[in-house]
């Protein structure tokens, strides 16, 4: 193939393993998300600007942004651009909050079943986490054995979803000053589900019409995600499966093994993937794999469920969101086991072209097509079901077509498994666990500040480019980066999650070397963005860096965002006080009022706000400028090695 073909693959992904599979796909006339994205061009401007309304049947309506006076134009009901944009945006927020929170609910449900002995395959590994959480919930722990306590904790967590009044319990984790801001805005979530329902109600034709109030309903729902559903998902997963600890592993399509039965678990909830891990280690199944001519069973993860089993078991990661089709395209995957979220509908038809079995396991996720097996996963028969699925993969091994197998021999090492809790031990040592050294490093000007780089992949940005270039630029400027989800996987593939710190600025390098951490920390899956909130609260509580999360020299980013979950995360982070950059804008530019607010004005109400910038390096500098401003406001010392950095940057 000619040069131009390489150029096409390089414009689509910076990851060489992905480029190789894209080439294979294109040679074989297999379409991928990138081809479909090309086919969708040009994308609808009304949708991009958020000024298309399909909420009632008098419509569809849309506002012409170039009419000269879009403020005066209205849909049939009389909703103007501001109302339409705000309603569309908060419905996205509600969708994201629902997805995260339903994940949290499932984990709570599993914990409850485990505690009641109905899900005997789950162990409740994180007993200390359980006891800490019980105390936080105000449950007396004295003399209570693990299961009894777990039952009480699970019931309380469960009740948060249907709670009708008061405040979610984890709201109390936020700094007082932030809680007061929320109180003033009237956005403290009462119950997780209630706020999502309220968004759907208020955006029905003819209910909430004032754009700022529309946004408030959405903000309340997403705070119920970040400080509710997602936080419950994280904490109860730590209780059930144990808190992650730093662990070495490998990532990228090269983790697939030519000689073994390759099983990929893809989706989000650890309740499934944890059991698949256990099943893949079952000696009987390993033996069966050998009988079928394979050297064993090779389990790999994809997307966020990969992060769950990566950080707790060191299971290798096959790739992030945009690599799901490419993994199948290797021709070496016997089964892709999926649960919920970010699983492309395209996988059904794609698997038909290979021997790969697509196994759906959730009552919430089905695919049309004959090559798809639906083996519903229920906690009471978890391990048996997991074994059945793995067996199906093994039995599919003889169907593999050796000629169709191409595994790019590309992997990278990484360290994962950092949490808001174990950072204490890293920084302060086991006997004096504290965030103090981190705060001091910021105050003294070794570390400029903190950045959370999170989110998805999106073919509208060169795959991984947004995450990797941004993270590199941030660490070069002494910003400690924490990541989750597909962003962490992008940077892991680029080698930024290794303990080698040569790309970090001199101050950050010093701290990383002293403490023994990489300059980019992997904090887990996308629900684990809640860990970032807790870590920020810990930094604030440690003292010396202001009263509110918005005082901290910190910023967030979602350079390749695509999902509604990202909208929810973005808003709960910004409404917790963190300035956040986006690779592509929220679909709100059709309303001047709403865009002025989210891209600036909301800072007055919540401390945080957004900016959009496609160039990840420029976006990193927006974050650095923001961090510098916060440093000035706190009167922190100038950066210790500023001049050297300037020289190195030449």
């Amino acid at each position: 193939m000619g040069k131009n073909d390489d150029a096409k693959e390089k414009s689509r992904s910076i990851d060489p393993a992905s480029q190789a599979m894209l080439k294979k796909a294109s040679d074989a006339n297999i379409t991928t998300a990138w081809d479909r994205w090309d086919g969708m061009q040009p994308q609808c401007g009304f949708g991009s600007l958020g000024i298309c309304c399909r909420i009632c049947n008098m419509g569809p309506c849309r506002i012409d942004p170039f009419s000269g006076s879009p403020e005066e134009q209205c849909g049939v009901c009389g909703a103007n651009a501001d109302t339409i944009v705000a309603r569309n945006l908060v419905r996205m927020m509600a969708g994201g909050a629902a997805a995260h929170s339903d994940h949290g609910r499932d984990v709570a449900h599993t914990l409850l079943m485990a505690a009641e002995g109905e899900a005997a395959d789950y162990e409740i590994v994180g007993e200390q986490r359980l006891r800490d959480l019980a105390e936080e919930y105000g449950i007396s722990t004295e003399g209570k054995e693990k299961k009894a306590l777990a039952k009480e904790v699970a019931e309380v967590a469960f009740s948060e979803f249907g709670q009708q009044h008061g405040a979610l319990r984890f709201i109390a984790r936020a700094p007082k000053a932030l809680q007061e801001k929320w109180e003033r805005q009237g956005v403290i979530p009462r119950g997780i589900d209630r706020e999502i329902v309220q968004v759907m109600h208020c955006t029905h034709i003819g209910v909430e019409n004032e754009w700022k109030n529309v946004l408030k309903h959405g903000i309340r729902a997403v705070l119920g995600d970040g400080w509710g559903g997602s936080m419950i998902a994280t904490d109860l997963s730590d209780v059930l499966f144990g808190s992650p600890t730093p662990i070495r592993a490998t990532i990228n399509l090269g983790v697939l093994d030519r000689d073994k039965v390759n099983v990929i678990v893809h989706g989000h909830e650890p309740t499934l993937s944890e059991m698949i891990v256990a099943a893949a280690r079952d000696p009987e199944l390993v033996k069966l794999a050998q009988e079928k001519g394979a050297k064993g069973i090779n389990l790999a993860g994809m997307c966020c469920t990969a992060n769950e089993i990566l950080m707790r078991h060191g299971i290798p990661v096959a790739g992030n969101f945009l690599q799901q089709e490419l993994a199948i395209t290797t021709g070496a995957v016997e089964a892709m086991i999926i649960d919920v979220q970010c699983i492309m509908p395209a996988l059904g038809d794609l698997c038909e072209l290979f021997h790969t079995k697509l196994v759906t396991t959730s009552p919430k996720c089905h695919f049309p097509g004959a090559s798809v097996e639906h083996i519903e996963f229920h906690e009471d028969a978890a391990l048996d079901t997991a074994k059945r699925i793995v067996r199906l993969a093994i039995e599919n091994y003889p169907n593999r077509k050796p000629d169709a197998v191409d595994i790019p021999e590309i992997t990278e090492d990484l360290i994962a498994g950092f949490t808001a809790e174990n950072v204490y031990n890293f920084l302060g040592g086991r006997y004096r666990a504290t965030y103090r050294p981190l705060n001091n490093a910021i105050i003294e000007g070794r570390i400029r500040g903190l950045a959370g780089v999170v989110g998805c992949n999106n073919p509208n940005v060169t795959h991984d480019y947004g995450h990797v270039e941004m993270a590199k630029e941030l660490i070069k400027n002494d910003v400690l980066v924490v990541e989750t989800g597909c962003s962490a996987q992008a940077c892991a593939k680029a080698g930024l999650l290794r303990p080698e710190t040569e790309l970090a600025g001199p101050g950050l390098r010093e701290v990383c070397q002293a403490v023994g951490i990489p300059p980019v920390l992997h904090l887990g899956s996308c629900v684990d963005c809640s860990r970032i909130l807790v870590a920020l609260c810990n930094v604030q509580a440690e003292g010396g860096l202001g009263d509110c999360l918005s005082d901290l020299p910190a910023a967030g980013a979602a350079p390749e965002w695509m999902s509604e979950k990202a909208v929810s995360i973005g808003f709960y982070v910004a409404c917790s006080g963190v300035f956040t950059t986006l690779g592509t804008p929220w679909p709100v530019l059709g309303s001047k009022a709403v865009s002025d607010y989210v891209y600036g004005g909301m800072a007055e109400d919540y401390g945080g706000y957004f900016a959009y910038e496609k160039d990840p390096i420029k976006a990193a500098h927006l974050m650095i400028d923001h961090i510098n401003k916060k440093r000035q406001a706190l009167k922190l010392r100038p950066m210790m090695y500023e001049q050297q950095v300037a020289a190195a940057g030449d």
């Binding site: 040009p42 401007g45 009304f46 991009s48 600007l49 942004p65 170039f66 000269g68 804008p585 530019l589």
Partner: protein
Amino acid sequence: MKSMIVVRVDKCLGCKSCEMACAVEHSVSKDLYRAIHESPAPRTRVSVEQGPGFVVPLQCRQCEDAPCVEICPTAALYRADKDSPVVIDHERCIGCKWCIVACPFGVISLDSENRTVIKCDQCFERVERGELPACVSACPTGALELRTLDEVVAEKRQASLVQIERGLGKEED
């Protein structure tokens, strides 16, 4: 005329993507996300109109004997050569609106902020670069096409031959 914008009416869904793309193309930034903040706001030169049972995007037909060019008192409306679209020299236009009145299709409008008339220029700069007019490339259903007169005529003839061969006798329309 070298080529013209042709509408396949049966394919138009009335999504107005052509209108938006036209405005962006005639903005300063040529970028949707920036164009909507420009002042004065960029304006579209094509408008999607509702007919009885159909929708159709209307833009300048680039008349051979163009009444707008004939009537313009300041010679602001002109053709660079016989194959070019009719364009406006905004410096010369005094906004007298004669052309708007004279146009049989109502596809010339007044840009009151800029105090000049505006009309479709068939994206001549894009076409010179070998690109399609913005409205044509924006149309998600392929309802808009840029075609030469010869192509259109040839296709019509072929279609009518098929009709004749099928014995239907009449041209379908």
